[in-house]
Amino acid sequence: MGHMQRLSRRAFVFGSAAIAGGVAFGAYGRAEAVAPASDNPLAAGLGPNSVSFNPWVEISPDKITLIAQHADIGQGVGSVQPIMIAEEMDLDPGQFEIRFAGPSPAYFNTGFADEFAPFVAADQSPAAEEARAKTLEWLRQSGLQMTGGSSSVPDTYEKLRVAGAVARETLKAAAAKRSGVAVADLRTQSGHVILPDGSKIAYVALAAEASKIPPMLDAQPRDPSKWRMLGKPMMRLDVRAKVMGELKFGIDMKMDGMLYAAVKLNPAKGQPLKSYDASKARVMPGVKNILEIKNGVAVIATNSWYAMKAVDAIACEWAPSAYPAEQAEHWKVLESSFKPEFLGKEWKKIGDIETGLKTGKLVEAEYRAPYVAHQPLEPLNGIGLVTDKGMEIWVGHQSPRFVQYVAATAIGLKPEQVTFHNQWTGGSFGHRLEYENVRVLAEIANQMKGTPIKLVFSREEDFLQDIPRQIAIARHRGSIDKGKIVAADLQLASTAPLKGLLERSGTPSKDPDGQLAAGLWNVYYDIPNFRATSYEAQGLSPSTTWRSVGASTSGFFTESFIDELIHAAGLDPMQARIAMCTVPHYRKVLETVAEMSDWKGPLGSGRGRGVAFVESFGTPTAEVVEVTATPDGIRIDKVWVAADVGKVVDPVNFENQVQGGVVWGLGHAINCELTYAKGAVQQTNYNHHEAMRIYQCPVIEVRGLENDPKVRGVGEPPVPPAAPALANAIFAATGKRIREMPFNKFIDFV
């Protein structure tokens, strides 16, 4: 199959398409782990006397290789995914190699089934589960292979444990055949099948025989109570290599005969180059070649620095931006987008909102969130080699099949002519779901046929081409009567991040952007009259998924507004949320964070606490932020976090991810925005877009809960509550309500 099939999700999921074999409920992935061998992309590359039971396990006579299906963007995929398999196979760390998955529909992401189906996460009704099962079938048909949406564990939790169990049981069957001992009398330990007499057969010695028997597809993963590694504090497999400086990121890769490229692209995103003058650059040291590409120029040199210096010296004339050149215009367009013609969707309507708003005291507030950049510390890069056969590309990316499509489309190849090698990445936060480096690298390598080209974006170029997080305005209204919230009408105007990404991926969607519902409609408070509506602003900067996506802005808007309503009702922000929460195990999350922080109401003069609760990607997360208003500004003293992920599979990494999410959420809320002038963003390095440094980092206490019936992810959910919890804390400490990010435009921070 070439590019992902273009299926209309709406038609497929909500039309009359019948699902063969009925609807499967519960955890996804078993079907994938026991799929027919003909679907296994590893089969084609197997050497002699080797076996692959499924797309995640490969055993040759000399080694065992486990496939990490997702991209490792710092979240731990390269460790926890192989360990989920190794747990079931009775392999120990050090007994297997790890490889990232290549492009294949076999690696479609089952974890998106919950996120894409139009039901809030807490809704486990048969109708919701049926819609999710249909969405899963659509994902299977389309082969959507993507890392994102905090889905790396939800997608693979069942799949990889089953894959490991199948491998284990098949190896036992092979050993039984060889030894004549009944399978029931065999056990497995540390990469060996153990016979009753204590003798051992290594898995690698069984590969040839295992390839000749049918895989044991009815194998069952073990009960979690039997786990050796999962669920317990364990060492991430990549930690040592990273600390020792031995792990090679994409940017560290080198090939024989390789040359280095740097680019200068039209800062008006997506617009072409009009003309250029490279006379100065041409004679600079190390320069080998100067190339014109669709939206800019590239310098080929013997060293990245020579290439960057020379490309700097090229004078370019650019076509103007398709979106407004000046930031003030972006805000004006958003302000005028609350109109029926820009309606995305009315996501939820409960009760009689107009009557509700006329009951009691009306509260109205407007909130804003700017464009922000991703800017992982490893800049965009990649190595490309084009030959007569096609293109080979080495780049860290979250969507392998779309990389094939984008690179191929750029230079007139078919997607299957592009061979993709995923790389360890120095962060992403959504940046490595976009394609600018891939497209540009394909163009450059195509002009330099036969020579491997390493492209590295300068930090400035990376900022200029970073497709930002959505910009958004919320206009919320609500009413208070007799100490209760009786109505909340949440209205959002925003650019559409997911729609933009899908379009650039070659799979445009006409559906309303589902990420604009995130944090807006999944509000689990007992409010009798409720409405959540999104409007999609047109003609603004392209925007894309940024760690926690829609909830990164709407979480701030909604939980700030709820806080305003609670204060207007004269209630305690924590007790009121607990009392209003409609989902018992979500209420437990709030109760947990109240207990952790010993919440007892106001702290007294100059100090304050704020709480916020947001469910994103199915993970209910509550945070308490404590601040002190010092003479030099706000100091963040401490943060407490409780999140329910159903199962904490990797506890140390869980804590690290949650802490990192809080740092991300707080840092960007405090001091980050991208603004356009003359069609280009004005912030081009970290001194203009700093986020949090260690001196501002509070103590962050974390607790994971396991009450949710499903296994959930944690990469993104800690982000959305951070900003509103901080704003709510600042209000508690100072009486000042901040309704716009970044907060440092309105108050100083220490």
Binding site: L247, W305, L377, A691
Partner: protein, 154 residues
Amino acid sequence: MIELTVNGIKRQVDVVAEMPLLWVLRDELGITSAKYGCGVAQCGACTVHIDGKAVRSCQAHIGEVAGKSVVTLEGLDNKDQHPVLQAWIEHQVPQCGYCQTGQIMQAISLLARISKPTDEQINQVMSGNLCRCGTYPRIRAAIHAAAANKTAEK
């Protein structure tokens, strides 16, 4: 030809004198623990030691480094048993890991000057090292642990 000592080995490179040490290490010598993050001394990912001091290698022109001794993370003495690296492993500091080699080189320099730093001293010395993943709580803990280990050894 410019001559310098990297990790105890004399090296010669044929580049312009203005080239930052970072790009000599990475693209000329194939030493990759020093990372390119910002190019303007805003992130600290390129931190190495020159004559024993933590330096942003993106700001050190190779012409000025000539004749000096450069140590990157690869060339640390007693690397496998180094108390700072050990503490970094025990506390599982890295997420993506890209900034961590620079963080570690900065932390080693801090501990060489202040054997038992306070949180405030850690903040002052480590604030030039950006971590986009937000591993700061673990960086702090690892520095305290390394300091305690070193003190215990004495």
